[in-house]
């Protein structure tokens, strides 16, 4: 695959009409919220920019990001992979294997120095010198650093690459480490989720391909266009939340009526993602629509913020089943008992004390002490 062709060249060769091309540009511009002139900007970029070479590496992960990615409907993943970008290396999708595949890595690195995108799915485990993830006979972390050194930017796909995900959950035996803690000298765009939404993944790639730069990122390095609002903010069950209508049990009447899943531990109020707007599988549904709360899979350390089915997170320092309320009630009981006992001892000491008596050892004292 050559990366010198433009996107426009490729799709025209595939028989796409110019009319359909401009339609695609308008739709893409609209879906990114680019405004009135966006469509012509997209068209211009796709006609003139060489296709961006992408190297897709897999670290410690489950490939659910790839599984999600290949189900993208708008745009179709075949358009992204075959037309839009030049996906030069992805060991799960590519035909080449072994030494051939390795050669592509080196070739891309030399030929497109500073111009290719490094997309990383999964993360490197750093414990035991990275021995928990061997890729091509070497620790993954070494290959990652090598390929990142000559890249233009790094895309951290999914919760693994962005935050660490399940392999980084306590006690994180392999010391799985998110990409931004390992690669510190390149722009990194986090696309968290377990997996991320397919259209979000292809949308990010389309943006970078179109404009040759990263989309606007938020404080945590996520593209604002997909991660600036919580699931809760755009949830279609939100009116039930505001009204105070909640599912209390999984099989109760309220669950059938589609009330809010807040009490069932839904993490929608603390999760930034586009699920409640973009939805999944070509917009068919998303967890809450299917009657299950959000588990907050695009958030930092979501495995350690459980349980998934309770509103309050477990606080492990205080025992297996503790949460803020249980700790609070226990502390209140201790303090309350303390106050009662203290009162009792105080009262016992006051028995027989005459009012108006002088304090025998009341010292002369500087009243401003301590002020």
């Amino acid at each position: 695959m050559s990366a010198t062709e433009t996107f426009y060249d490729v799709i025209r060769r595939q028989g796409i009409t110019r009319r359909n091309f401009t339609k695609f540009c308008s739709l893409t511009a609209a879906s990114m919220g680019l405004g009135a002139t966006g469509a012509s900007e997209v068209a211009h970029a796709l006609e003139t920019n060489p296709r961006v070479p992408v190297i897709w590496m897999h670290g410690l992960e489950c490939t659910c990001c790839s599984e999600s990615f290949i189900r993208s409907a708008h745009p179709l993943v075949k358009d992204v992979v075959l037309s839009m970008i030049s996906l030069d290396y992805d060991d799960t999708l590519m035909a080449a294997a072994g030494h051939q595949a390795e050669a592509i890595l080196q070739e891309t690195r030399e030929k497109y120095k500073g111009k290719y995108i490094l997309a990383v799915e999964g993360n490197p485990p750093l414990n035991e010198d990275g021995m928990f993830c061997i890729d091509g006979g070497r620790p993954f972390v070494e290959r990652l650093k090598e390929m990142a050194a000559d890249s233009m930017a790094v895309i951290a796909w999914g919760a693994c690459a962005s935050w660490g995900c399940v392999q980084a959950a306590k006690p994180n035996p392999t010391q799985a480490t998110p990409i931004d803690k390992v690669i510190t000298d390149k722009p990194i765009i986090k696309v968290p989720g377990c997996p991320p939404i397919a259209e979000v993944m292809t949308g990010v790639i389309t943006f970078i391909n179109t404009f040759g730069r990263l989309p606007t990122l938020d404080r945590q390095g996520r593209p604002e266009m997909f991660y600036s609002q919580r699931i809760h903010d755009k949830c279609y069950r939100r009116p039930h939340f505001d009204a105070g209508q909640f599912v209390e049990e999984w099989d109760d009447e309220n669950a059938r009526k589609g009330f809010c899943l807040y009490k069932m531990g839904c993490k929608g109020p603390t999760t930034y993602n586009a699920c409640s707007t973009v939805r999944w599988n070509d917009g068919v549904s998303f967890p809450i629509q299917s009657g299950h709360g959000c588990i907050g899979c695009s958030e930092d350390g979501f495995w350690d913020k459980g349980p998934f089915y309770e509103r309050l997170s477990t606080i492990h320092q205080f025992g297996i089943e503790a949460n803020a309320d249980k700790i609070g009630v226990a502390a209140a009981a201790v303090v309350g008992a303390g106050i009662v006992v203290h009162t009792a001892v105080t009262a016992a000491g006051r028995l027989g004390v005459k009012h108006g008596g002088r304090a025998p050892e009341a010292p002369d004292q500087d009243l401003s002490q301590g002020t």
Binding site: Q220, S228, T270, S313, I315, S368, G370
Partner: protein
């Protein structure tokens, strides 16, 4: 400092006439702030608890109710009121008397502070018979006020507004002013958890505070509760 004034005792006909030293210690802005803050905290405790653990589910149409909406509104309104009064209370330290500054600093470098602190701790452990007297906070109270109340309140204001900014939006003033909280705790669920722990810490602080105020009013030969109403602290040790 000219605090001492002698009560007018000419009209008293009791058997024992006692002149007690009275000191004006809590100026009006401090007292107003104290009670507004107490009211806000009460509202915040109750509504905060219900936000984490909502009351029983309501039936019927969603359009017929706004229960969580009202609970959250009360929480936000009380929180914003508390924050504004806390800010004004801080500004008052530049205009107010010495006692008004105690909330925001602890003289840990002063020997008599530690001496007083241990003495006060002994007083609460029933190891000394009489507590010392102070115009403002005693050192133990001073310490608790700063480290639990003041720092706790600052933490609650920061995390509270940070969470409020999540609903207000990324471009809101709140997000610009308090969004840095999420740089420290990237997962908002953590901020919720810590804010909820903060609720319990301040709730228990309030319980201990009320107990100590009542007890000291009875036991320490100094007025406490009425001082926060009139501003005057009376020393009941019968000497002028």
């Amino acid at each position: 400092m000219d605090y001492a004034k002698i009560a007018d005792i000419s009209e008293l006909k009791g058997q024992v006439v006692v002149a007690r030293r009275t000191v004006y210690v809590y100026q009006a802005p401090v007292r107003i702030w104290h009670w507004v803050n107490a009211a806000c905290m009460t509202v915040l405790f109750v509504t905060g608890y219900f936000i984490a653990t909502p009351p029983g589910s309501l039936g019927g149409e969603a359009s017929a109710h706004f229960q969580m909406g009202y609970i959250r509104f009360a929480h936000f309104a009380a929180g914003q009121t508390m924050a504004v009064f806390f800010l004004m209370r801080f500004l008052w330290t530049f205009a107010g008397n010495a006692a008004s500054k105690q909330l925001f600093w602890v003289p840990v470098w002063k020997k008599n502070f530690w001496d007083g602190l241990f003495n006060e701790a002994k007083w609460y452990a029933f190891m000394v018979k009489y507590p010392r007297q102070y115009v403002g906070h005693n050192p133990l109270a001073h310490m608790m006020m700063f480290f639990v109340f003041t720092l706790g309140t600052v933490f609650m204001i920061c995390t509270g507004f940070a969470m409020y900014s999540e609903g207000a939006g990324r471009d809101s003033l709140w997000a610009k002013a308090f969004g840095w909280v999420f740089a420290i705790f990237p997962n908002s669920q953590d901020v919720h958890t810590y804010h909820h722990i903060g609720l319990w810490v301040l709730c228990l602080f309030a319980a201990v505070h009320v107990y100590a105020a009542v007890r000291e009013d009875i036991m320490s030969r100094q007025s406490m509760i009425s001082s926060m109403i009139s501003g005057e602290r009376q020393f009941r040790d019968d000497k002028v």
